[in-house]
């Protein structure tokens, strides 16, 4: 019986011939990412030894620059950890900082066939690089740093076969919202993305889909490798690359085709990502207080560039706070160099430093009672971005930018179609 991409990597890294759904496999971990929350006083347990400091990456992203004394204390503990174990890949506030999942892309930390863990749920983001990456718990991360291994439970795999090309003003976020809206959660299962439609999607676009797969409750989300992907990784990481392809007779729980040409801009209504998508027209006209672009899902250069194209030469509606958070300093610098930052600023956007920030209700745009936000971030759970009575709609960066201009939820095609 053939294996899916996830099953093949689990088998290879677990030293087994085959792996099938239901198996629990202990695997070698190639990359362990720790971030500021791990070092918070109410989470951290002091580590006395690590297996291999070269496999560890430390990132400050959730609460930077530190908004509270507790966050500052946690980051101090993190810096001490980095010093004590001589961790080289350390992304402190400064030139190389960013959201961990963006840094994985910026610095080529994930290579095909590898295993990467981090205790942030959106770590499945790195699955775009044809590897096994997933969010684990804080204790798992400490265990993996110390022992160099972790356990995974293998689930069934759902394969999404992408065909065609997205229409103008429709993005990978909309493709994801289509999947989440129609098929709902994929709890205990893996998702695998492939098919001829890949060719039309940038790595950043694909990364939106793997990142958002956390919202499907997917165990692992992986993309097939193609030349574009291998070029991206090899430009950033000198390691020899070995793409992992599913076996021709791999067994899937389901294979579903997504015709990208047929998709339209979608919005997830407040309080849930799954089974909650509607065409933007259904909620168009809903007044907003805040429009937010950012996070590990949609804070890439592509996303900022798309937002800039929407707002070019226009002004954000009075009374609307338009907050744009580049996902990393690299993205921020590139956007600045290309004039994207200037365009956004001219339109009235506030550019926040790279951080998870308000996506998790941390800081830099937290919502007050009854406020309404449209966001391109990862989650819209009740109270996720602030007060439990606030309402968070989720759409693509184009939809968010168009809504910021209009002051109400708006179809981006009004601004982007020729």
């Amino acid at each position: 019986m053939g294996m899916t991409i996830a099953e093949k990597i689990l088998a290879a890294k677990g030293g087994q011939k085959t792996v099938k759904p239901g198996d629990v496999v202990t695997v070698e971990v190639d990359t362990v990412i720790l971030f500021d929350n791990n070092f918070m006083p109410n989470n951290w347990r002091d580590i006395r030894k690590v297996r291999d400091a070269g496999r560890i990456v430390v990132v400050f992203d959730h609460r930077v620059p530190a908004p509270t004394q507790q966050a500052a204390a946690g980051q101090r503990t993190g810096r001490e950890f980095v010093r004590r174990f001589g961790i080289k890949r350390f992304h402190d506030v400064g030139r190389e900082q960013g959201i961990s999942h963006q840094l994985v892309a910026d610095y080529g930390y994930a290579v095909p066939g590898s295993v990467l863990v981090c205790s942030d749920s959106h770590t499945c983001s790195a699955g775009v690089f044809n590897c096994l990456a997933r969010g684990v718990g804080g204790p798992d991360i400490i265990y993996a740093a110390i022992k160099g291994e972790t356990w995974f439970r293998c689930g069934e795999t759902v394969r999404y076969e992408l065909t065609g090309k997205l229409p103008q003003a429709v993005t990978a976020k909309d493709a994801f919202l289509h999947i989440a809206g129609v098929h709902g959660d994929h709890a205990t299962m893996n998702v695998e993305y492939g098919g001829p439609g890949l060719a039309s999607l940038t790595i950043n676009a694909r990364k939106t889909m793997t990142t958002m797969s956390a919202e499907l409750s997917a165990e692992f989300a992986t993309f097939e490798a193609d030349d574009a992907l291998l070029e991206w990784v090899s430009a950033r990481n000198p390691q020899p690359l070995q793409p992992v392809r599913p076996d021709a007779d791999a067994r899937y729980f389901a294979v579903r085709t997504i015709e990208l040409d047929t998709l339209e801009p979608l919005v997830a209504l407040p309080d849930s990502v799954v089974k909650n998508s509607q065409p933007v027209g259904v909620v168009a006209g809903t007044a907003i207080d805040q429009a937010y672009i950012g996070s590990c899902a949609n804070g890439t250069l592509d996303d900022l560039e798309l937002a800039a194209r929407v707002v070019q030469g226009k002004r954000v509606a009075p009374g609307v706070r338009f907050i744009v958070t580049p996902a990393s300093q690299t993205v921020y610098r590139d956007a600045s160099r290309l004039g994207i930052v200037q365009t956004l600023l001219d339109a009235g956007a506030v550019i926040a430093p790279p951080t998870c920030g308000a996506c998790g209700g941390g800081h830099m745009g937290v919502l007050g009672p009854e406020e309404v936000c449209i966001t391109s971030t990862t989650r819209n759970f009740k109270g996720r971005m602030g007060d439990p009575s606030s309402k968070v709609y989720m759409g693509s960066p184009a939809t968010v930018a168009a809504s910021a201009l209009a002051g109400r939820i708006t179809d981006p095609r009004e601004f982007l179609n020729p």
Partner: protein, 166 residues
């Protein structure tokens, strides 16, 4: 392990932010449990008695990696049984040694306030009030052993690999 207690019911797609809201982020481990479900069921956390059992629906614990399972345990709940459990949340249950089982059909088999009897290792779930029985998916031996050992931290402490709890 065998748990016999009254059950509370949570619905489908219960997310981690409802269990451990951002508001409680900076609080101590001991303070966090009182915020469980404060947004969707205010006042509930103070009604939970030690040993009570939580019954969940589909996709319980979707969302973040935050130690939400730790809050359920520290709230005094003895066990979670849900139709399906988000993989990351399930890991945290194992990590923090909070007994959790997946049991298809569980949500329909219980009304809130019914008494459940759960044999954790075997995965046997009985509704004592109604006299019905269901079979949950028992934990794989490796994960069961981790739960029985008290989770990851006690294991690493015993080996001297992490500092003892302050």
């Amino acid at each position: 392990m065998k748990f016999t207690a009254r059950v509370w019911k949570a619905g489908d797609n219960i997310n981690t932010d409802l269990i451990l809201p951002n508001k409680a982020f900076y609080l101590t481990v001991e303070e966090q449990p009182s915020y469980v479900f404060s947004a969707n069921r205010p006042g509930w956390s103070s009604q939970v008695q030690k040993g009570d059992i939580l019954i969940g629906g589909h996709n319980f614990g979707m969302g973040s990696s935050r130690p939400a399972a730790r809050s359920l345990k520290n709230l005094g709940l003895s066990c979670l049984v849900a139709h399906s459990i988000n993989g990351l949340f399930f890991r945290n249950c194992v990590n923090f040694a909070f007994p959790a089982l997946e049991c298809p059909g569980i949500a329909e088999a219980f009304e809130e306030g019914d008494v459940a009897e759960i044999e954790f290792e075997a995965g046997r779930v009985r509704n004592v009030t109604r006299g019905t029985e269901l079979q949950a998916k028992p934990l794989p031996p490796k994960l069961l052993a981790l739960v029985m050992a008290g989770g990851i931290y006690p294991l690493l402490e015993k080996e001297g690999l992490i500092a003892p709890k302050a």
